[in-house]
């Protein structure tokens, strides 16, 4: 104690480090370590079995392991972790009541954003750890990172289906550098959107389920009515979260793609989704100022 320090505010750096520690503890308490170990174990088993099929860590030519960061399982793992993390990070906080967070001598909005940022740092750390693990597993088993292949790009879907010459074009495809960042950006966007639901709604799972169902209905209508732009938007979203929906199938041992993702697409979708998530978090954190 102290008289000189009574009523003094804590340093923001101290609060930030404490939030990192608290969120880290919450993740550990939630059993994330065993869960991560199980995921990594599963990845190692897949690597060991060298199962055929289209997957993030699949067989290359000659049976060697190939890890493509733009393929579905890896992207889905990243996004799933990102969607679940806010529930862990906010565990124990009564977001709409006298939460421990609100009672502390820190501005409510700033405190909220610090906690969200702490969760994001942990998300990146978890994804990085998983990426390093997978990379090491692939390299240790003599595999390669990224793909170097020829893809068939569909220029005319109807013609391609009918086997019309010139409807498809062969394209040499090498995993671009930015595909290694794609799981991180898509997970960041998913984390921010999930955090928005967490901060803005009393029942985030209810809202998430509602949005999921609403999306399904919209897609169903788009499919039924053949509304092209909704279907394209859906493919785009699926690609961004690791759905790989531009891959159409196989023809003559080559992958057929409806569209090859580009740096511009990645930048535009990252800017849109992360911007949307950030706006949501900033807006929802304002609620904390005004109970």
């Amino acid at each position: 104690m102290t008289d000189s320090t009574a009523g003094r505010l804590p340093a923001m750096k101290t609060v930030w480090i404490e939030q990192l520690r608290v969120v880290g503890l919450a993740i550990r308490r939630a059993g994330a370590r065993p869960a991560l170990a199980r995921v990594l174990g599963a990845v190692a088993r897949i690597a060991g079995s060298r199962r055929p099929g289209r997957q993030a860590m699949g067989d290359g030519e000659g049976g060697q392991l190939v890890f493509d960061p733009g393929e579905p399982p890896w992207g889905f793992f990243a996004v799933l972790a990102a969607l679940l993390l806010p529930f862990v990070a906010w565990k124990g906080e009564r977001r709409f009541g006298d939460t421990p967070l609100w009672s502390m001598p820190v501005d409510h909005r700033r405190h909220t954003l610090l906690k969200v940022a702490a969760g994001w740092v942990w998300l990146l750390a978890i994804l990085s750890a998983a990426l390093v693990w997978v990379t090491l597993t692939v390299l240790a088993s003599g595999g390669t990172l990224g793909v170097d292949e020829v893809r068939l790009l569909v220029l005319d879907p109807a013609g391609a289906a009918a086997g019309t010459p010139g409807a498809m074009e062969s394209v040499n495809w090498t995993t671009p550098w930015w595909e290694w960042a794609l799981p991180f950006t898509s997970a960041t966007a998913a984390y921010l959107v999930a955090s928005t639901l967490m901060l803005a709604t009393r029942r985030p799972l209810f809202w998430a389920a509602g949005l999921w169902v609403a999306g399904g209905v919209v897609l169903g209508i788009a499919d039924f009515r053949d509304i092209d732009w909704i279907q394209r938007a859906s493919d785009f979203v699926a690609w961004y979260i690791g759905g790989d929906s531009f891959a159409w199938g196989m023809s003559g041992g080559q992958e057929v793609w409806t569209l090859l993702p580009t740096f511009k697409m990645w930048m535009a979708s990252s800017a849109f989704w992360i911007g949307l998530g950030l706006a949501g978090v900033l807006g929802a954190s304002s609620r904390a100022r005004n109970h």
């Binding site: 505010l9 503890l25 124990g92």
Partner: protein, 313 residues
């Protein structure tokens, strides 16, 4: 026979200095007025007890002072600052025991929770925290979710006191405590007040438990203060008069004081009156009543009289 009148006890405590003031403070939740033009004045260094029934607005008021509830009308000053604008600075100077007895993060151990609190309060007195923990018999290795209601309250009291704040806001602090721990808590609070220049606001409907500490009283009902005054003024000014009256007596008419409560049967009548003792006694005597006894009310009895009078009007 029971007859009551709304008492209008003093509300203005003068010029201060005050650690906490509110002026025409209002907060509604939907159509419910939780705080309705409330003028609170808590002198610096006072132990101010807020008394009122459930739903009177005590917890809403305390949460407003903490900056946890945003008020809609009026003005608030806590330690010279408005909690709506400078909530962080206000909370830095407050030791808070909420009405809710759940402690912090349920998954944390008590020891980690205290570390967590220490990070947020540069003035945290680790030695004092250890001493309090030992006196309360709190196991630092225990998980917060495994604490009983009484144990949680003790942990909350440790976290409220250990950073030695200039203002304590205690919402039902003795709720859930057994007699022994309650006495220990009052003893800790007394020692704390002797050591540190502190203002305390205690909200409770068990006034008798904290009465030895209290020096100011505010009676709250339906979001409004029925009165706030020093305890000694309450003892001297709000008195109970027992009197025998003749057969067919119709009442004293106008008394030189405010009748808070009147009750009794047949020829023995009891008045609770706010006013000058001699003048009220004289007024009753002149009206034909024979005053047998005059006695002050405890804070608890005074609150009950004021609140039951309010509720009957």
């Amino acid at each position: 026979m029971t007859d009551t009148a709304t008492a209008a006890l003093p509300i203005d405590l003068g010029n201060g200095p005050f650690a906490v003031t509110t002026r025409e403070l209002a907060r509604r939740f939907g159509s419910t007025r939780a705080l309705d033009g409330l003028d609170l004045q808590v002198p610096e260094g006072a132990v101010y007890v807020l008394v009122g029934p459930n739903g009177a607005g005590k917890s809403t008021l305390i949460r407003t002072l903490m900056g946890l509830v945003r008020y809609q009308d009026g003005a608030v000053s806590v330690l010279g600052r408005d909690p709506a604008d400078r909530g962080a600075e206000v909370r830095a100077g407050i030791g808070y025991v909420p009405e809710d007895y759940r402690v912090g993060y349920s998954w944390m151990t008590v020891g980690r929770l205290l570390e967590h609190q220490a990070v947020y309060h540069p003035s945290w007195d680790a030695e004092y925290a250890r001493e309090l923990r030992a006196r309360y018999g709190i196991d630092p290795g225990r998980k917060c979710h495994a604490l009983s209601k009484g144990q949680s309250r003790r942990v909350q009291l440790v976290t409220a006191l250990a950073h030695r704040p200039p203002l304590l806001l205690l919402d039902e602090p003795t709720d859930g405590l057994d007699h022994v721990v309650r006495d220990e808590t009052l003893s800790i609070l007394s020692e704390y007040l002797a050591d540190s220049p502190t203002t305390v606001v205690i909200s409770t409907h068990r006034v008798y438990e904290v009465e030895p500490l209290v020096d100011h009283v505010g009676v709250l009902s339906e979001g409004r203060l029925l009165g706030q005054l020093p305890r000694d003024d309450l003892y001297g000014g709000l008195l109970r008069y027992w009197a025998d009256v003749p057969e067919g007596w119709t009442g004293p008419g106008e008394l030189p004081g405010r009748v808070v409560r009147r009750s009794g049967a047949a020829r023995a009548i009891e008045w609770t009156v706010w006013g000058d003792r001699d003048a009220v006694t004289r007024g009753l005597s002149q009206a034909g009543a024979a005053v047998r006894e005059v006695a002050p009310l405890s804070v608890d009895e005074a609150a009950l009289a004021l609140l039951s009078g309010r509720e009957a009007t």
